[in-house]
């Protein structure tokens, strides 16, 4: 698939005139072509070499590329032949190497003049890589330096007679973006400035022996004599020699289309391409600087997009400033690239600026939002959790995408989130896994309170029990126990229905609740239930639980006083008598026991007995429970002693004796007789 190239031929026949033209030009353009096709200046034809002229025809939408030859066969000096090719601007824009058009030029003669009245069909070849020889390179560098470092000045240079001069100028022309290419005016041999009005020529070459190029307007132009040492020139030369080696042409086309500038932006474009090609860590920062105001490239969305792509591809090694740049310009990146690189960016943001990641998943730019959400979905849950930070609530957007985070203790540990935070993220707190993770992770009291409030005390205690069964230390769960114990009724319910309660949990609860905290408005005291179960599990209640239960029995709350006393008294008494009941363990207990003389204050066993007796009498412990308080007669006897000493104790004992006298249980009948004997023995003094 090629393009149509129109053409025209001008030469001398009773004056310089048009011989043929395959396209209808506007009158203005036809006059301009007539002028441009004539010899470029006095003495040019005497050089004896052909030259090129390039210029736009705005009215006709065509670019004219012309080759002029001296027509030495003509009768007058100064006559020329000019073959002009006309390329539509749109076609010029898509040609990779418009310099290839020069292959269409034909040296005309009078006989062949008519053959130029039809257009030509041009098919471009793929540009080929080839190096410039030293002289070509020097000319290229001089011209490029002047053109692009002095972008607002007309450039001129001296040239030799060699044909490569035209090739070098065409190579420069090849390396321009469409808008610049179609506005670029050049002439490779002239003796004077060929500018007409405001149509200034960018580049004009004159003979090496000419004193200088003559400018008619108020300018002297600038002679291209020096070579820039800046890296942009080396980059441009590299592209000139290897047009297929990189995406420079495409970058030129895109950037040139996006930028409004002319020659003045070439250096910036080359600098940008050179910087983006670098692999060093500082390259990203340098590239960002090139597109940050007030630079020329800062006005280009394409340039920013390129830099963003480059930064994205290195998203795992960006500084804060570079990261900010990427985030600010994410909307410039295509959805495909976002999807390709988004995960890397998300991972990096997670490590260095997770709050930014959270912002991006709710970004108002749909492509950004979608890409970041997809990236977050794919991120490893542990990684996500480990990079969460305490003290902020930005994790909510992440939660909405990754509700599984709430099943990770790390999440709770790092965020100390409250239930409201989770609910605001649209999640429902209801699963055991969530509660378990929260229990293991949370240590903030407010957060614990909020979660406990949502899940409920029973669920919390069940969870704690479950965790303890797996080996979790009760100490780390104490806060939760404490929170659960703020709902005594619920705790009571839990204890009452605990099948095989965890002894450590029970201990933890006792550490948080006073013995008389839990209600027992009806039925069996939940403490009795749970402690009996514990005793059954482990064989013997821990001393702390015994103390707690004894205290419970001594308090006003329990409806199972006798059973509690039976469960705990004898064991406690034995501990007290054999010295294993330390004062430090039972100070609270002792405080609730009846007063004794100072001389007896050391005798905990005595005090236990007195307390027991007092409670039995005051609570009217059932005779069945009373007679079961001690397994030995000696201890039972001491209990009787304590009971008898209490006000109303004798009457109570009488009652117990009578109630158990005819019991169906032999041990109760034995105890009844024991009490009877005791009473006989100790009541004679008042008979």
């Amino acid at each position: 698939m090629g393009i149509i190239v129109h053409q025209a031929l001008h030469g001398y026949s009773e004056g310089h005139r048009q011989f043929a033209c395959s396209v209808q030009l506007t009158p203005n353009d036809a006059r301009f072509v007539m002028v441009m096709s004539d010899a470029s200046g006095a003495g040019v034809t005497s050089e004896g070499i052909p030259y090129l002229t390039g210029y736009p025809l705005q009215d006709s939408g065509l670019y004219a590329l012309a080759r002029t030859w001296p027509a030495t066969e003509m009768p007058r000096p100064g006559c020329v032949w000019t073959h002009t090719l006309f390329i539509a601007f749109a076609d010029l824009a898509v040609l990779e190497s418009p310099s290839q058009l020069s292959a269409l030029f034909k040296l005309p003669t009078v006989e062949t003049a008519r053959g130029f009245d039809s257009p030509q069909h041009f098919v471009a070849n793929r540009p080929r890589n080839y190096s410039l020889i030293s002289s070509q390179q020097k000319l290229f560098e001089r011209l490029a330096t002047a053109l692009y470092e002095q972008p607002h000045i007309q450039v001129w240079a001296r040239r030799t007679r060699e044909a490569f001069v035209d090739d070098v100028v065409l190579r420069l022309w090849d390396l321009q973006w469409p808008r610049l290419r179609r506005s670029f005016r050049f002439c490779t041999l002239t003796t004077r400035d060929r500018s007409q009005g405001r149509a200034l020529f960018d580049l004009q070459l004159c003979s090496q022996v000419a004193p200088r190029l003559r400018f008619s307007q108020n300018t002297d132009g600038i002679e291209a004599i020096s070579t820039s040492s800046e890296p942009w020139l080396a980059q441009l030369l590299e592209y000139a020699e290897h047009p297929n080696a990189s995406g420079f042409r495409e970058a030129l086309r895109l950037l040139g289309t996006d930028l409004l500038g002319g020659r003045e932006v070439m250096r910036s474009i080359c600098c940008l391409q050179a910087t983006l090609a670098q692999r060093e860590p500082f390259a990203v920062a340098d590239a960002i600087a090139l597109v940050t105001p007030p630079t020329q490239l800062s006005r280009s969305k394409v340039a920013k997009e390129m830099v963003t792509y480059a930064a994205l591809s290195r998203a795992d090694a960006l500084s804060d400033a570079e990261l900010n740049y990427v985030v600010d310009n994410l909307a410039l990146v295509s959805e495909r690239e976002l999807a390709f690189h988004g995960w890397k960016l998300a991972g990096y943001l997670l490590k260095v600026a997770p709050e930014k990641l959270a912002e991006l998943v709710e970004d108002e730019r749909p492509p950004v939002q979608i890409s970041m959400r997809m990236a977050v979905e794919k991120l490893d849950a542990n990684l996500l959790a480990q990079n969460l930070k305490v003290g902020t609530d930005w994790f909510r957007p992440l939660l909405a995408i990754r509700p599984d985070l709430t099943e990770m203790p790390e999440f709770w540990l790092r965020t100390q989130a409250r239930a409201s935070d989770i609910q605001k993220a649209g999640l429902v707190l209801q699963s055991e896994a969530q509660l378990a993770a929260a229990v293991l992770g949370l240590h903030n009291d407010t957060s614990i309170e909020s979660l406990a409030g949502v899940f409920g005390t029973e669920a919390v205690l069940s969870c704690i029990e479950h965790l303890m069964a797996k080996g979790r230390d009760g100490g780390e769960l104490q806060r939760w126990v404490k929170e659960a114990c703020r709902q005594p009724e619920a705790v009571a319910f839990f204890l009452a229905h605990a099948g095989a309660p965890n002894p450590r949990l029970v201990s933890c609860i006792t550490a948080e609740l006073d013995p008389d905290a839990l209600p027992n408005d009806y039925g069996v005291d939940p403490w009795l239930t749970v402690l009996a179960a514990v005793k059954q599990q482990i064989g013997k209640l821990p001393i702390e639980l015994q103390i707690y239960a004894f205290q419970r029995a001594l308090s006003w709350r329990s409806r199972s006083v006798g059973s509690l006393l039976c469960l705990t008294f004898e064991s406690l008494h034995c501990a007290a008598t054999d010295g294993t009941l330390a004062l430090s363990n039972c100070q609270k207990l002792l405080d609730s026991l009846p007063w004794v003389r100072t001389a007896d204050s050391w005798d905990i066993a005595l005090r236990l007995r007195l307390g027991l007796a007092k409670r039995c009498v005051e609570a009217a412990v059932t005779p069945e429970d009373y007679v079961a308080l001690a397994s030995t007669d000696d201890l039972f006897g001491m209990i009787l002693d304590a009971t008898l000493k209490h006000w109303g104790g004798k009457r109570y004992l009488e009652c117990v004796k009578e109630s158990t006298e005819h019991s169906t249980k032999s041990e109760e009948r034995v105890r009844s007789r024991f009490i009877a004997a005791y009473l006989d023995k100790h009541s004679k003094w008042w008979k």
Binding site: H16, P27, R76, P77, G78, C79
Partner: protein, 282 residues
Amino acid sequence: MTAHNIVVLGLPGSGKTTFLAALWHLLTSNEVETKLNLVTLKAGESGHLNGIAALWRKAKVQERTQHAGDRTVTMSLRAGIASEFQLSFPDLAGELFQQMWETRECSPEVAALLRSSNVLLFIHADKIKAPGWIIDDEEDAQAPSEAGKPVPWSARLAPTQVKLVDLLQLLQVPPLDAGARCIAIVLSAWDKATGAGMSPDQYLKAHLPLLSQYLAHGLDKDWKIKVFGVSAQGGAYDEISKPSRDEAQRILAMDVPSQRISVISAEGQSHDLTEPLQWLLV
């Protein structure tokens, strides 16, 4: 200072630039007496004039004036002891006037110049394209340019005097009309025409009868006309980078280059190229 403008008309190759080159040499060399003397030249224009004068001195053919090579020469002159005046005249490419005939187009800049009341009309005495006989045109039409196809008529093919009459007609209608004018007709390369033994007026009448009749009866009666025969070169010059011819060698050998110049009018013959100018300005 009084300012005068002269517009120099002429088809391509009619001798306009050669006249200017010779005139410049004449004014700057002071080799012969002239009716007008140079006082000063406007700054920046000497380069071009010196260049063409140098070629003239070397008896080299002037390079044709390019389309974009139009220049206006402005110089301060004095006639004898009279006060100084400024004279401007452009060295226009002959293609511009050809374009006026062929395409009926004229740029505003050239139109402004053409409204000058003083006209110097150049006609190459040896390159007059005469009208063709009908029989000759018939033969041309059947010439084998493309077999079986007629040769289309082109304005380019018109005779010289037809083009010149048309040009003069254009000067009398808007936008080029400037009222009555003085027109000095310069038959250049007069050295080629002397063999006919005619005066310039006679030569004009004989070889350009249509033009002669138009000058007599077609112009407004207030127009003033005079015909000069001018040989600004004195003979055939050499082309640059080509071997020198005998005639050019002879011309070069002259001691006083200004004496190459011949100006013939009804009053006689001289070397003074300023005569046509002086006539226009009086």
